[in-house]
């Protein structure tokens, strides 16, 4: 039921959008490319869902997590370098102290 409603709304929006564009063409008013492209963007139909492998969602999530964790790795590396630099400093100051 919900799907039919969405499809119908989609068609209505598309029809309205094309009507608008047709009007503007007739009246030589096609000077708002931003508005036109916005109308066309929202009026375009979505892809056929049946051909999308459902596992793709899990894969995308894994890629996002991987990117995030990769960032953590980067941060961890930097913090390790900073720590070891601090340690060498401490070492030097201890030597000087003695």
């Amino acid at each position: 039921m919900k799907n039919i409603l969405i499809i119908r709304i989609n068609w209505m929006v598309k029809a309205m959008a094309w009507k608008q564009i047709a009007n503007k063409i007739c009246k030589h008013q096609l000077r708002e490319p931003l508005i036109v492209s916005a109308i066309v963007f929202f009026a375009t139909a979505r892809d056929a869902h049946a051909y999308i492998d459902p596992g793709t969602g899990a894969l995308i999530w894994q890629m996002l997590v991987a990117a995030f964790v990769g960032g953590l790795f980067f941060v961890r590396n930097i913090s390790r370098r900073v720590m070891s630099w601090l340690d060498t400093l401490k070492g030097k100051s201890k030597e000087k102290g003695q």
Binding site: G57, A58, Q62, A66, G70
Partner: protein, 478 residues
């Protein structure tokens, strides 16, 4: 000949003369050789957690193919090698496993994925059909599932399949009390996030673990990124160290999740209290039954036993302790789960399966031949069959005619059958019959024995004192 191996271009699995032979094509030799060369993989083989491999290289491979007449099944593939695997005694499938076995298979698969990383080896897929059971111990059977990993690849492609086929069913088991055998028949590839999403209420969807396992993949699945054809093409490589770090984090997270979903003891069903609350046997009467079975086992020493309606598995354990390989079937997954735990604890060779003998698992898959049905696998596969206090269930609840029960049992057993006859006057029988006792007026001890005598001889029988039950030891004659 096995009809379930046709998808992989790197090889084909064939069974000939009781031998399990895998033909590896030239295309698959590279991955196969990295598997043979990997110390971690070979340690799994020596631990008997990956199936054993005996490799026949180039010249011998052709000899084996000619000897076993495998050429017609090769469809012109270029042969790289032929591998002989040990035979796993009884095949079983996820739609027959209690949740505990599915968990064990998941545990093995994840451990393989984690530990093979050190040798730069990975799994191409993560599905319960790659695992069979020896008793209650899982063994990984698809050696062509291993492939070399690129050192800088931070993505584990089978993640989605692992979640779908292992994690989601265990999730439903823990949170909704559903059993894997309920839906694996209909959904062989497991459950998609979308399916589980519908089961969750609006609050549960936002709580872990459902949020990251179910809701987010579902929401991401409808974005336009999901519709792109290059999502699955491996392109984003990073430095090896970082890739390893990312992958180890992923496996650690999955491991923690899996442990959280481990099925625990203490679940209740209508059959869990059966042995403990048993009021229809006194201790003496039960001891009679036990010693009857033990004597029969000692006399005939069956190497393989099918225990029908095993419940807590008391008699399966007796048989296993006498050295038999046991397949224990029952229609209740909860008691089978407890039996799996007992088998693990005492290291007994018992394979608990959720099978109702009156409606056994059908053959499924391509041409209904990929996964043979239970009866096809079980016929003639057992030296002994136990049907203790189960025939009256089949007669009364399922209304199977006695003659047909006799014929099926004769098909399943090679040698002996241990049977318990419950007379219509018995209280349990009357409870099942529920007012329709007139249907069983003709069922007397004599008519019962006459029916079994058609295919068996009665070696000995024993009436259990003060009950309406008798035990029979039968030997197959026809």
């Amino acid at each position: 000949m096995l009809r379930n191996s046709f998808r992989d271009p790197e090889g084909r699995l064939l069974v000939s003369n009781g031998k399990v032979l895998r033909v590896v094509t030239r295309q698959g030799m590279r991955s196969f050789q990295s598997f043979l060369a990997s110390p971690v993989a070979q340690s799994f083989v020596s631990d008997r957690r990956i199936v054993s491999t005996k490799v026949f290289g180039e010249p011998e491979a052709d000899e084996v193919i000619e000897k076993e007449a495998l050429r017609p099944f090769l469809n012109g593939m270029e042969v790289g090698a032929v591998v002989e695997h040990e035979r796993v005694p009884f095949q079983s499938y996820p739609h027959e496993w209690p949740a505990e076995l599915l968990f064990a298979a998941a545990d093995l698969t994840l451990e393989l994925a984690e530990r093979l990383l050190t040798d730069r080896l990975g799994l191409k897929d993560a599905t319960p059909f790659n695992v069979l059971f020896r008793g209650a111990e899982p063994v990984f059977i698809d050696v062509l599932s291993f492939e070399e990993r690129h050192a800088g690849d931070p993505i584990w492609l089978p993640y989605g399949q692992f979640v779908r086929t292992f994690i989601t069913p265990l999730l439903l088991h823990k949170y909704f009390g559903l059993f894997p055998n309920m839906f694996f028949l209909a959904r062989r590839e497991g459950l998609e996030p979308e399916d589980v999403y519908k089961l969750c209420g609006p609050v549960r969807r936002l709580l872990p673990p459902f949020l990251t396992l179910v809701s987010i993949p579902k929401w991401l699945g409808v974005t336009s990124y999901a519709a792109r054809t290059d999502t699955y093409v491996k392109k984003k490589f990073t430095e090896p160290e970082r890739a390893t770090y990312i992958l180890r984090y992923l496996f650690k997270r999955l491991r923690r999740l899996l442990m959280r979903l481990a099925p625990v003891a203490g679940q209740r069903s209508s059959w869990t209290g059966y042995m403990a609350d048993m009021t229809h046997y006194t201790t003496d009467q039960f001891a009679t039954k036990q010693s009857f079975v033990e004597c029969a086992l000692r006399e005939f020493q069956p190497r393989s036993v099918l225990d029908v309606g095993c419940n807590s598995g008391m008699f399966s354990m007796l048989a296993a302790k006498c050295g038999a390989r046991v397949v224990a079937i029952d229609s209740d997954p909860v008691v089978l789960g407890d039996l799996a735990r007992a088998a693990w604890k005492d290291r007994l060779d018992i394979l608990p399966l959720v099978v109702d003998l009156t409606r056994p698992t059908p053959a499924i898959g391509w041409q209904n031949a990929e996964c043979p049905g239970f009866l096809e696998r079980a016929r003639g596969a057992f030296d002994a069959v136990f049907m203790l206090a189960v025939v009256h269930h089949m007669l009364v609840s399922e209304r199977i005619p006695l003659e047909e029960i006799v014929d099926l049992t004769a098909d399943l057993a090679r040698d002996i059958v241990i049977l318990e006859f419950v007379a219509p006057q018995d209280e349990m029988f009357r409870r099942l019959a529920r007012g329709r006792e007139y249907l069983y007026d003709g069922l007397t001890v004599e008519s019962f024995e006459a029916a079994w005598r058609r295919r068996f001889e009665i070696v000995r029988s024993q009436h259990i004192e003060h009950t309406q039950r008798s035990l029979y030891l039968l030997r197959k004659t026809a």
